[in-house]
Symmetry: C2
Subunit: 211 residues, 2 copies
């Protein structure tokens, strides 16, 4: 992305690097929502206009910091393409395809391992998943009920998908590790469906959480 | 456990250590089910009777290798105590209590981090969870249907519980990270219930995995 812009003025790679370092620090400390381009510019010692010049939007700067294995702009339309009914199924399928892609797989599992070992990497992974993936998938959905539960729904979806990656690819629980994608989708999609739009807050005593 | 047995003969701590090392290698390469006391004795260069003398059963030797944060012999009765209806609820609650205990919590999260970074630690964690926890919980249950699905059910339970630990304690997704235990139990127990005894293999095209 920045390749075509190098050489515009001397030292701009250094400036770009300074901004990226400041952005990584800000995003991993205050999160995506709590960080502004202005704060990043200030801590990098540059003008906010320069940050916009190099990286465009805050979102693009965030993606330049996280360097996710897949571009959400390509992923999201795939998940949403055929209407809301199949969203849980397509979330699980797209997640599995990403984890099993020859390039995206190792990259994502590297993020997961890094996020487990290093606090700042974990925060970036969390914010990437929350703000760039789930928030966009649920944007404008009218069937998710009380919007104040959206962050809890997002956390629960993450708990199942990240746990799926951990057990299928890292810990290699069998037969989950070698199961066909279809079987995994069948088993897990209803969980994602319930976390996205189902009843997740019924009273404990109602018996809903029993067997 | 071994403390009271030291001094019985000179060098027995070395022998004990040799057996433990051989056991760790065997369990992490061939798994719990694929390993016998005899194999361990052979690769440690001692008699099988000596392995039994120091460690008792294969199960006890396995626990001495894994050194789990909690003793399954204490945990399982707690989960099963009040009959099968509440098992999913009590699985999630017991898991959360273990993860949040002042001693057991850091120990379990250490196992999870170790299992994510080191293949052999991952295999031990997997086999501990499978053979010492879930297998015992489901022992003699008649409502789990076709027993050949038991390993898949176990994998799926692990995917949700380990993912819950990852997002709640390590990546700290909010509000999951600071949610009350009751709220987490309410949200997650139905998932565990379905993985344990529900329909996890319905045909994809039946629409069961849709929203």
């Amino acid at each position: 992305m920045a390749r075509g812009r190098t050489g515009r003025r001397p030292g701009n790679q250094d400036t770009r690097g300074l901004i990226l370092t400041a952005a990584r620090e800000a995003f991993s400390q205050r999160g995506y929502d709590g960080t502004s381009i202005k704060q990043i510019a200030t801590s990098a010692g540059v003008d906010a206009a320069l940050v916009h010049h190099y990286f465009g939007t805050k979102e693009k700067l965030f993606l330049a910091v996280v360097r996710p294995p897949v571009d959400p702009a390509l992923l999201i339309p795939q998940v949403l393409a055929e209407g809301p009914e199949g969203v849980p199924t397509r979330i699980v399928r797209t997640f599995l395809q990403t984890c099993e892609g020859p390039v995206t797989g190792p990259a994502f599992l590297g993020m997961l391992r890094g996020g487990t070992s290093h606090r700042w990497q974990g925060l970036l992974l969390r914010d990437f998943f929350t703000t760039q993936i789930v928030r966009r998938v649920l944007d404008k959905r009218e069937d998710i009920g009380d919007p104040s539960y959206l962050p809890l729904r997002t956390s629960l979806v993450a708990s199942q998908l990240f746990g799926l990656a951990l057990t299928r690819y890292v810990l290699k629980f069998e037969p989950l590790a070698s199961a066909h994608q279809d079987a995994v989708v069948t088993a897990v999609a209803p969980t994602i469906a319930r976390y996205l739009t189902g009843d997740i807050t019924a009273e404990l005593e109602s018996g809903n959480s029993g067997l």
